[in-house]
């Protein structure tokens, strides 16, 4: 299962479609709270594509939550954002990759899915 968390519905849909094309199951969320509630209900994602600027708690709040619990601390996260995270090491949050919304291609998404959720 792969989570896509983005408050932009169209962007989330685009990402989800790419993930589905790779035959992986996907769930989309518009905010961090819904995603956390889903995890609390027992759905543990293999990979999360996460926007940073979200309505309500932002992506960093979610990542802080995830690294606070033993069952979620190892979930790999790919940040998908328009913000500039060049040269930032966010591995302490479980971040395995950073994609810029301005330059990423479907192949970038597929590569992360193949590497972390197959």
């Amino acid at each position: 299962m792969i989570f896509v968390i983005d408050d932009d519905e169209l962007m989330a849909e685009c990402l989800a479609n790419i993930v589905k094309n790779g035959t992986s199951e996907v769930m989309t969320f518009r905010n961090a709270i819904d995603a956390m509630n889903c995890i609390a209900d027992g759905v543990l994602p293999d990979l999360i594509f996460l926007d940073v600027l979200l309505d309500g708690p932002d992506g960093f709040t979610l990542m802080n939550d995830l690294v606070s619990y033993p069952d979620t601390v190892r979930i790999p996260i790919v940040i998908v954002s328009s913000l500039d995270f060049a040269n930032r090491d966010l591995s302490e949050y479980g971040v395995v990759g950073i994609l810029s919304k301005e330059t990423m291609t479907p192949e970038d998404i597929e590569n992360y899915v193949n590497k972390h959720a197959k």
């Binding site: 932009d8 169209l10 962007m11 685009c14 990402l15 479609n17 600027l53 328009s82 919304k101 301005e102």
Partner: protein, 232 residues
């Protein structure tokens, strides 16, 4: 409560607006990628959608940089002029071809280093060339010439199109473009690209200017030569 002055509020506002403008552009770009089973004609349309959204994002990003020039983000360093111009050429070549224009680059010194910020210099050349593409008549070529000039390196971009209107010329002579114009400089332009280039050049202590021809315009930037040994 603390009052941090109008300037910061203005800059913050611009950054928020820029982010809001970028969001739909990134979506448009991804939607274009999501189209599949396309005919060759559809494929062209998709490429255009991607290119147009990327160009618009670049302008938004450049506008953000204009308002963040004093934040210490842009260091001056020795920059290889040819490498920058070739990179911009590679990015814009498709657009020139698509619009039935051509672009010629000439270097009198292939290895010259200048003191500049690479990112800002890239944007200056990019905006000059985009401007030249826009204003060159169909089937005509634009030219980019790099040459040494009185101890500096001059990058000159020439278009062959409508002459610059006299009022715009006066504006440039008065102190270059200080803000985007609300009225068109030349038909179809707000002068935004030149405003961006002008600000970046001023930040790098470079001279910028324009030459009015009967059959077009040249825009140029002159940068100080780096004291570091040239590449070759």
């Amino acid at each position: 409560m603390c009052y941090n002055g109008g300037m910061n509020t203005e800059v913050d506002g611009i950054l928020v607006v820029a982010h809001e403008l970028k969001a739909p552009l990134t979506v448009l770009r991804q939607l274009a990628f999501s189209l599949n089973e396309l005919t060759p004609q559809d494929e062209k349309v998709r490429s255009q959608m991607i290119n147009v959204s990327e160009r618009a994002m670049r302008q938004v990003n450049d506008l953000i940089k204009v308002h963040r020039l004093e934040d210490g983000l842009f260091e001056m360093e020795p920059v290889a002029v040819r490498e920058v111009c070739d990179a911009v050429n590679r990015e814009l070549q498709y657009l020139f071809r698509y619009n039935n224009r051509s672009l010629r680059l000439r270097y009198s010194n292939h290895a010259r280093l200048v003191m500049a910020n690479r990112e800002l210099l890239y944007s200056i050349v990019y905006n000059f060339l985009l401007n030249a593409m826009h204003y060159s008549n169909e089937q005509m070529r634009a030219e980019l010439v790099v040459k040494d000039c009185h101890g500096k390196v001059k990058i000159n971009v020439r278009d062959y199109g409508p002459a610059l209107p006299i009022d715009v010329w006066r504006e440039i002579k008065r102190g270059w473009i200080k803000e985007p114009l609300t009225v068109s400089m030349r038909p179809g332009s707000s002068g935004l690209g030149l405003f961006i280039a002008s600000n970046f050049a001023r930040f790098m202590h470079a001279n910028v200017g324009a030459v009015r021809h009967r059959d077009g315009t040249s825009f140029f930037v002159e940068l100080p030569v780096s004291k570091q040994a040239s590449l070759f």
